[in-house]
Structures are given as C-alpha cells and as structure tokens.
Subunit: 176 residues, 2 copies
C-alpha cells in the first residue's frame, strides 16, 4: 500500500481512484442538479434534504443531526434550508425539551414535491450511473465506500439505509 | 439490471452504491476541507482550483474550461475564485484573442500555497480513503467511476490525469 512514490505521495492506482471519486461525484451532482432544477425547481441539495427528512421518524430531524447526515456545517445547513423553508417545503420547529435545539420538519407540500421529483431523479441516477456499471462494480463500489464511511467518526452511515433498515415496513417506498 | 423493484426504482445493491457514493464523497470533502482550512486557510474547493491550474499549460485555463473541469456553473466559479483572487493566489486575465473570454492564472504565491498544503492533504486522502481500501477495491472504484465519467458529455475526464499524462515530464510532481 506504500506504492512506488516517496513520502506518501499517491501512486497511479491510488490517484486514479481518488480523482475519479472527486470528479465523478461532482459531475454526477451537477448533471442531476441541472435535470432536477429544470423540471422541478429543486437543486440536488434541496432534494437530498427532502429525502433525508422523508426517511426520518415523523419526518423530522434535529438540525445537528441533519447537518451531520448531509456533511454540512451549521451555516451551510442554514443556507440550504432558507429557500426550502421560504417555499414551504420544510419548517423549523423549536425543540420542546432543549431550548438551544430546533428541528427541521418536512411539510406535506415538501413530501408532495419530493414524490413528484423522484421518478425523474431515479431515472437520472440509472442513466448516468447505475446502468453504466456491471453488478459487480456496483457491489464493490458500495462496499468500499461504506468501509470508508465506517471509518469516519460520524453518524454519516445512517444516511446509507442499511439492509436491515431497508426491510423495515417504515421505509417501504422510501425515496432514493 | 432491472432488479426486483418495479418502475425502475433502485434495488438494494444499486441504492447502496449510489448512496455510498453521495454520502462518502460529501463526507470526505467535509473532513478534508476542515483539515485544510485549519492548517492552511484553504477550502477543499480552493485546493481543487489550485491543483487544476497547476496542472494546466502555463498554469492557466479559460474560465469556461476551469468551470467544466470543476463541474461548476459560471456563477459558481466566480464565487469560488473571489477569495482566491483577493488573496493573490489566482489572477484573472483577459483573453487577447477573444474579448468575451478570460483566463484564470495561478500565481507564484498560489503555487507556493498549494505546495505547502499538499503534504497534509495527501496524508488526509491516505488516512481517510486510500489506506482503508484494498488495492483491488481502488482499481475497481477508479475504473467504474472513469466509466461513469466517460459517459458524461463533458471534458471532465481531463481532470483525471490519465496514465499517459502521468508519464509526461510536464506533470512530474503534479499534486493530487
């Protein structure tokens, strides 16, 4: 794993994997963002917020949890929520047991918009990602990146929806 | 590839791969961003701009090319460059042959800052990504995501640095 390059520099295989990850994830987000925005007036980031809230118990999450699941800073989350709350897709609620805490809550309108946008988004994920890869590539990619996430000292794994969660009735019909 | 779910919904393997890609790439960027910012006052996005310019001929790129390599909109690129130009790490230059075009150019100070930050960044890429994976996982991941990029109608592949480019003297010492 030390490679042929001195002082911990990345060798060719390592650099290709890293760059492909950075460039492909950015490119996929940009393409899906453009498609969602054109057809449904939602950014990729908006869509992510709606999905994560739709999968949460009672469609609500503490701001701190939501920020962690989306890998956003508190200020980044505030910016992300501004338009969604203005458009009535998400509301902010004070946490009754913790004066410092507040929740983000998916509204009925937010769920309606998410459901309307999901088919196009999933079709895009298929067209630009899933259908381009062999089954084995998808398995290795998922497993490898879950290993990476498992190492991160965060609750980011919760956003993955494990196999167990996927079998729970509460997440039937959950949106990708 | 149609899976067990109707109407093109993602099956478990497909959904895990997609979610792992989205969540892991966001998480890795956030972690590396925090490390770069704390030690070098650069965001992950800043670092990306400096790397891409450092690898370009004469350390310069048309704005349109830079935006495409970074999967940014024109306005997104403008925001990304504002702080870098204010800090003197990048300059904007008018294109002499095209009144509508302009270049982003890496300054000597920008290159110095990039070289100073690179060891920490590479160490972070190793610690949070490369060293957590088997060689075979890195190979499959790189190959799969290059397939995905190859399908995108863009020049995003150029940012990957192919094996041929890596052997050219001009990119010896290029920064990951």
């Amino acid at each position: 794993m030390t490679g042929v390059v001195a002082v911990g520099w990345l060798d060719e295989v390592e650099a290709r994997a890293w760059r492909a990850l950075v460039v492909a994830s950015a490119r996929l987000k940009a393409v899906l963002d453009a498609e969602l925005m054109a057809a449904h007036g939602l950014s990729f980031g908006d869509y992510e917020v709606l999905v994560v809230l739709s999968e949460a118990s009672e469609h609500r999450l503490r701001m701190s949890e939501l920020a962690e699941l989306l890998s956003l800073s508190p200020s980044g989350l505030t910016r992300r929520l501004d338009r969604l709350t203005r458009d009535g897709l998400v509301t902010r609620e004070q946490c009754p047991f913790d004066k410092r805490g507040s929740y983000a809550v998916l509204t009925a309108e937010g769920l309606t918009r998410l459901r309307a946008a999901a088919p196009l988004h999933v079709e895009g994920v298929r067209r630009h990602f899933v259908d381009l890869l062999e089954r084995r590539q998808l398995e290795v990619l998922g497993s490898a990146l879950e290993d990476v996430l498992g190492h991160c000292p965060s609750r980011g794994m919760r956003a993955l929806g494990t196999a167990d969660q996927a079998r729970e009735p509460s997440t039937q019909g959950s949106l990708p």
